[in-house]
Amino acid sequence: MNGGDEVVAAPVGPPQPLEWKFSQVFGERTAGEEVQEVDIISAIEFDKTGDHLATGDRGGRVVLFERTDTKDHGSSRRDLERTDYPIGRHPEFRYKTEFQSHEPEFDYLKSLEIEEKINKIRWCQTANGALFLLSTNDKTIKFWKVQEKKIKKISCMNLDPLKAVGNGSVASSSNSVCSKSYLANGGCPDKSSNDFSFPPGGIPSLRLPMVVTTHETNLMARCRRVYAHAHDYHINSISNNSDGETFISADDLRINLWNLEISSQSFNIVDVKPANMEDLTEVITSAEFHPTHCNTLAYSSSKGSIRLIDLRQSALCDSHAKLFEEQEAPGSRSFFTEIIASISDIKFGQDGRYILSRDYMTLKLWDINMDSGPVSTFQVHEYLRPKLCDLYENDSIFDKFECCLSGDGLRVATGSYSNLFRVFGCAPGTTEATTLEASKNPMRRQVQTPSRPSRSLSSITRVVRRGAENPGVDANGNSFDFTTKLLHLAWHPTEHSIACAAANSLYMYYA
């Protein structure tokens, strides 16, 4: 990796390639431990500030992590002392809380089982110190509020003969027993209290309950709204609008627009369902709102195209404003062409100018002002081309890898097999392309890699960049483990830190 190409690149001005280091792991597997299906992570998302991270798993749980290094210094000092060059603190997270977001369900009308697996998580606007997020499985989206509540103890009740004053630990159960028994004996208090004529100064013997606030806090996750019954097919994406009041949900054939405060109705804004389902050739695979333009959204399709639509144009946006797709090279068509062209994920860069897309073989970066073709293409799986047949046989070819952009938009990352993920530089002139393994020693693979033709290859063209980057991996027999795939990862919005999921473990790296 630290080959000559950087030395060549450095004077030209592109940013130095990042040196990735292991930061943290949550839910690490011990040797020989079997992964439980329900524990496998199925969604990762940083919030806008990067102070919180959420993961969702196949068991319908959402786990929240919070950043610790910005709040206090104690934890990161040790790392600072250990590192031998002056790098600032890197993001460190700790487990905050978790909650059961979705449960398995059964649709009796359609005789369909609905898995509890969390497909996507999106953070919403924070308010009053409470965290808000949307989580979705195949059918139902839920709006969650996670809030710290101080534990309060109540004392000094009017009716509590058993407890002494100021005891401070009155169990509310005894109160309710007390009041209920009264209700049973004395009838309804509402009725009789109306008959009272209160003395003008009030009744001195009555007192209000005393509430003693303790310093203990309790994190509470409450489901505030459930957006259900709007999707006939499986939801693949949800995305918040910059207006702070709406979001979209996309399934295979339709995209619906919701108001966060209204769960009883949504508006269909894209519908690609043909009149006759036999004419179906293309499905929606992913959709996302523009980060700042409230009226722009992009969605990708199984045919490898990205459509940009303008919500201002019409209520039902079946005609796109812009279409991004790459013309296939003539003569290159094969049985697999269409399958591997399918886009599994799209992401807008933070400034909204670029869209990153991931298909089976590549990552592509598109400029929304240039619909003739991608600005850059990064080969991720080129070395798998000879094996497409096997991949088709074992269904791996349908794996949906996610992709992400760094906050500054200068780098992109995506996952691969054998728990590997790849980071590419996309600033002009850079040739940065790193392969990392989701383990405590991310650069392990690099060591094995003979640094052979990388210099010459990378300098040929920006587009085909280091095609077979890791021939070493290819060569040694154990490398293509199709069962250990790294599908989900997310880049910290402001710093060089990546969170990625290897089965049930969450690995965090920084540079």
């Binding site: 110190g129 509310s172 209290s193 009744i203 009555l206 201002r312």
Partner: protein, 587 residues
């Protein structure tokens, strides 16, 4: 504490339950906060209860919503208006919660209290509260603050007024779209309290900023602001400042903004006055009627009549009518449907000649529309048509439309047309009705769908009311009674239902001579459901017919049914017998 006297128990429980684990009990206590306050007295309410509520505001939204509402009417319980300010702190915290409905209620209650507060208290307590909220760290507080300015402003001294205007204009440029939306929504209310001089300068510049916001959701709220501000400004000011905004909104890139203009059009026209409407808004409106987006055309089409009323007939005929013609063949059925529901109102505006010449063809084409809603909308306004052109001209096209709707395969459409039959009958008159529609009414009694049969029975009754018993004897009763021998018991049941509805209209004589024998005959039916329905119908006939008939005919029949092998038949027969006993006793 255990020494609470017996009569105080209920109130003591109520107070304790303010902090119960069970949300229902807490909610109950909060709803009866006034009782608690009266029990504690003014002073302790101010010094203990209100601070208690201020501190305990991390409850569930339902409880907070109830609290916000109760506090709005709490002034009498804290000792009157001079102490109203003690109510502000708990409401202030409620203004910052995340749940919109709680915040809205808290703002509403604050406005209600603020409107009663003494001027010096407003300056001392209310205005600082508004300023604190407007400077809130979280957007929720700032959103709430926008709704309070109109209460605070008028009693503020001059320097504070300037400050409040500045703060409001900052809120209109807040980073959070939610805050800007709230500022845009409340701008009209705030502007109404601002002095005319500042209205023209400060408020108008705030408004202009909002009209250029890049969030569509903010801009479309500014459309409503046009109408509100327009009413406050002098006519010439309005033409100078509001009119251009309306015109540019009507060409906004976002269809949602254009939709708002179309939807608010009448209010906007009112704001700018009839003259500028005629000269400047007609082209805008025509553009909206021809908009690319069907939703906009739907909204615009629905305002056609109201808009034409502002214009004179010449302008309407010249500019609007051609659009209406286009809309009547619009590709969207919803546009045509919206047009059909209002188009009849244009007739009086255009006058008889123009109506017959121009409007009638449109009207007739809508009446033949392939989409049933369009036809139904026309038929529902038939009385208006009748007034202008008379039924003769129409009947030729009307009848096929009605017949087609009556046989529509969607039962809801059939149901809708049945409900218009009495209206049609009254407009068309007996002669026309007998010829064409009588058969249809009978046909519906044999519909496959229960709701239709039910509505048809009701329809028969309403026709009998409309045309009188004599007509019914000739045109309804024989046909209805004919159907008692239908082989399907559900149809026989419909007839029983129709009889029970017709009997009160027809009077005792016809009931005894014509209807009762049929019912008695049905009591021999082999289907138990018919038999217990006979019992029910007989019960309903008892008050109508003469006592002797009850004794001679109805009771024997019921007695027989009360010995039926079927338990339901016996039940309803006995019920009917009991009620006949009661009738006898009372007479």
């Amino acid at each position: 504490m255990a020494m609470i006297e017996e009569p105080l128990y209920p109130i003591a429980v109520l107070i304790d339950e303010l902090k119960n684990e069970d949300i229902q009990l807490r909610l109950n206590s909060i709803r009866r906060l006034s009782t608690i306050a009266r029990a504690l007295g003014d002073e302790r309410t101010r010094k203990e209860l209100i601070p208690f509520l201020s501190e305990n505001n991390d409850d569930d939204d339902e409880v907070l919503l109830a609290m916000a509402e109760e506090l709005g009417v709490f002034i009498p319980y804290v000792g009157g208006v001079e102490y109203a300010n003690v109510l502000l702190p708990p409401l202030e915290t409620l203004c910052t919660v995340e749940e919109t409905c709680v915040r809205d209620k808290a703002v509403e209650s604050l406005c209600r209290i603020g409107a009663q507060m003494r001027e010096q208290d407003l300056v001392e307590y209310f205005i600082p509260l508004v300023k604190r909220l407007a400077a809130g760290e979280w957007f929720t507080a700032r959103v709430s603050s926008c709704g309070l300015f109109h209460i605070a402003y008028s009693s503020a001294p001059e320097t504070l007024k300037t400050e409040l205007r500045t703060i409001y204009s900052q809120l209109c440029q807040d980073d959070m779209p939610m805050v800007r939306r709230s500022a845009a929504t409340n701008l009209g209310k705030f502007a109404a309290t601002v002095e005319p001089a500042h209205l023209k300068t400060d408020i108008m510049s705030i408004f202009e900023d909002l009209t250029q916001d890049d969030q569509d959701s903010v801009r479309l709220l500014a459309v409503e602001g046009c109408a509100a501000l327009g009413k406050l400004l002098e006519p010439q000011e309005c033409v100078a400042h509001i009119l251009p905004v309306i015109v540019s909104f009507s060409q906004d890139k976002s269809w949602r903004v254009r939709y708002m203009v179309a939807n608010q059009l009448y209010e906007l026209c009112e704001a700018v006055g009839p003259e500028p409407t005629r000269s400047d808004l007609v082209p805008s409106y025509v553009r909206l009627l021809r908009d690319n987006e069907a939703e906009v055309r739907i909204a615009a089409a629905g305002k056609v009549t109201k808009f034409c009323r502002i214009l004179n007939p010449e302008l309407s005929i010249q500019h609007i009518l051609p659009c209406v013609k286009e809309l009547s063949t619009d590709s969207s059925q919803h546009v045509r449907s919206a047009l059909a529901s209002v188009i009849m109102g244009m007739a009086p505006v255009l006058g008889k000649d123009a109506t017959i010449e121009q409007l009638l063809p449109i009207f007739l084409s809508l009446l033949k529309d392939e989409f049933p809603d369009v036809r139904l909308n026309i038929i529902s306004k038939l009385d208006q048509v009748n007034q202008v052109i008379g039924i003769d001209l129409l009947s030729q096209s009307l009848l096929p439309a009605i017949v087609e709707l009556a046989e529509d395969r969607h039962w809801r459409v059939r149901l809708a047309i049945i409900e218009y039959i009495p209206l049609l009958a009254s407009q068309l008159g007996v002669g026309f009705f007998d010829d064409k529609l009588g058969a249809l009414c009978m046909q519906w009694l044999k519909d496959k769908v229960y709701s239709i049969r039910d509505a048809a029975a009701n329809n028969v009754k309403r026709l009998a009311e409309e045309f009188g018993p004599e007509w019914a004897m000739q045109h309804i009763i024989p046909q209805v009674l004919d159907m008692t021998n239908n082989s399907h018991y559900l149809y026989r049941m419909t007839i029983l239902h129709a009889i029970s509805l017709l009997a009160p209209v027809m009077g005792p004589e016809i009931t005894c001579s014509k209807l009762l024998p049929v019912v008695i005959n049905a009591s021999k039916d082999r289907v138990p459901n018919i038999k217990f329905n006979v019992a029910k119908v007989l019960q309903s006939l008892i008050p109508i017919v003469d006592q002797s008939v009850v004794e001679k005919t109805i009771r024997p029949c019921l007695v027989e049914l009360s010995e039926d092998p079927d338990v339901d038949v016996r039940f309803f027969a006995n019920q009917a017998l009991q009620s006949s006993d009661q009738v006898m006793m009372s007479t």
